[in-house]
Amino acid sequence: MARKTPEINGGSMADIAFLLLIFFLVATTMDIDTGLSRQMPPYNPDAVENDDQIKERNVYVVLINSNDQILVEGRQMNVRDIREAAKEFIVNPQDKVNLPEKRPVEIDFLGERMVSKGIISLQNDRGTSYGMYIKVQNELIAAYNEVREEVSMREFGQHYEDLLEDKKDAIKEYYPQIISEAEPKNIGGGN
């Protein structure tokens, strides 16, 4: 009878596995990148500013100066109040004459709706702090998201996040998110 090879002791396998486990535990970064997405307009140095073509009532000007003070449509405003103010601009529920015009658009699922022509123009100074800039951006996006959520609940009885893609697109068409980031002007002194 052939001699039996001695069995390899498996007791230390756990130790080896633990060692590897601890290595990966330490080396792991779980953070998924999150952020605010934006689409910039193409670069066109010859383009003259065509602000005149867009009526004043359709543009919602948000200025941030080098001291991080915010001016919304000529009024100084706190970050906290931007959301509500922007929502009123986006929806214009009473069709006020100083808020954006609307045009009829045929939208899937929703039929013909009056879609606002409003544009939010976010302007900053070179001395504005990035933190404040993001805060304001966040509030503006939040305003759009809240409006879309309200419409979603009203029209489909579902949260916007839970909607299917084509219904989401319909709502996006109803309330398009147009935030223009203007090229910087030295609006608030600073450097």
Binding site: T34, G35, S37, G127, Y130, I141
Partner: protein, 157 residues
């Protein structure tokens, strides 16, 4: 006396540790799969601003990163304390961004190039001046999809 002996005999059997390696291996595989190794070492201090309306950045292969912030203390003697741009592992100037974008675009599949996103990881304290310059350069390089990298927070303080 008899009582004592009996108790000693009928004690709890030792729990078998034979399945311990299996459990540990399971954990190990989980962490191995979910691990994303850091590709670059940051040479700048970076505290990202918080935001509530964030979206996840999917498809890491389509994302290029531009870091902006104050150089870390060890580099301050060489690069000063003004916010600087870091591309990959090195400090860069605004003018280098176009080459960087071209290089990053070259690395991608041809049909995925239009989907390229540039993630701007900018320190909260930075002034917008440098960010604006970077954005202008990106527009010139026609990298128009950008993402302001933020932390997800529930409430903005």
């Amino acid at each position: 006396m008899a009582k004592f002996q009996r108790k000693g005999k009928g004690g709890m059997p030792a729990i078998s540790t034979a399945s311990l390696p299996d459990i540990v291996f399971m954990l190990l595989f989980f962490f191995m799969v979910s691990t994303v190794m850091r590709e670059t070492t940051l040479k700048i201090d970076q505290h990202l601003p918080g935001a509530t309306e964030v979206k996840k950045l999917e498809r890491k292969s389509l994302v290029s990163y531009i870091n902006i912030g104050k150089p870390k203390r060890t580099f301050q003697s060489m690069y000063g304390t003004e916010p600087r741009i870091q591309l990959n592992d090195a400090f860069a100037k605004v003018g280098d961004i176009r080459d960087y974008v071209t290089a990053e675009r070259e690395k991608m599949d041809e049909n995925e190039r239009p989907l390229m996103t540039v993630s701007l990881k900018v320190d909260e304290e930075t002034k917008m001046g440098i960010v604006v310059d970077v954005k202008q350069e990106l527009r010139k390089a026609s990298a128009l999809k950008i993402n302001y990298s933020t932390r997800k927070v529930e409430v903005i303080e």
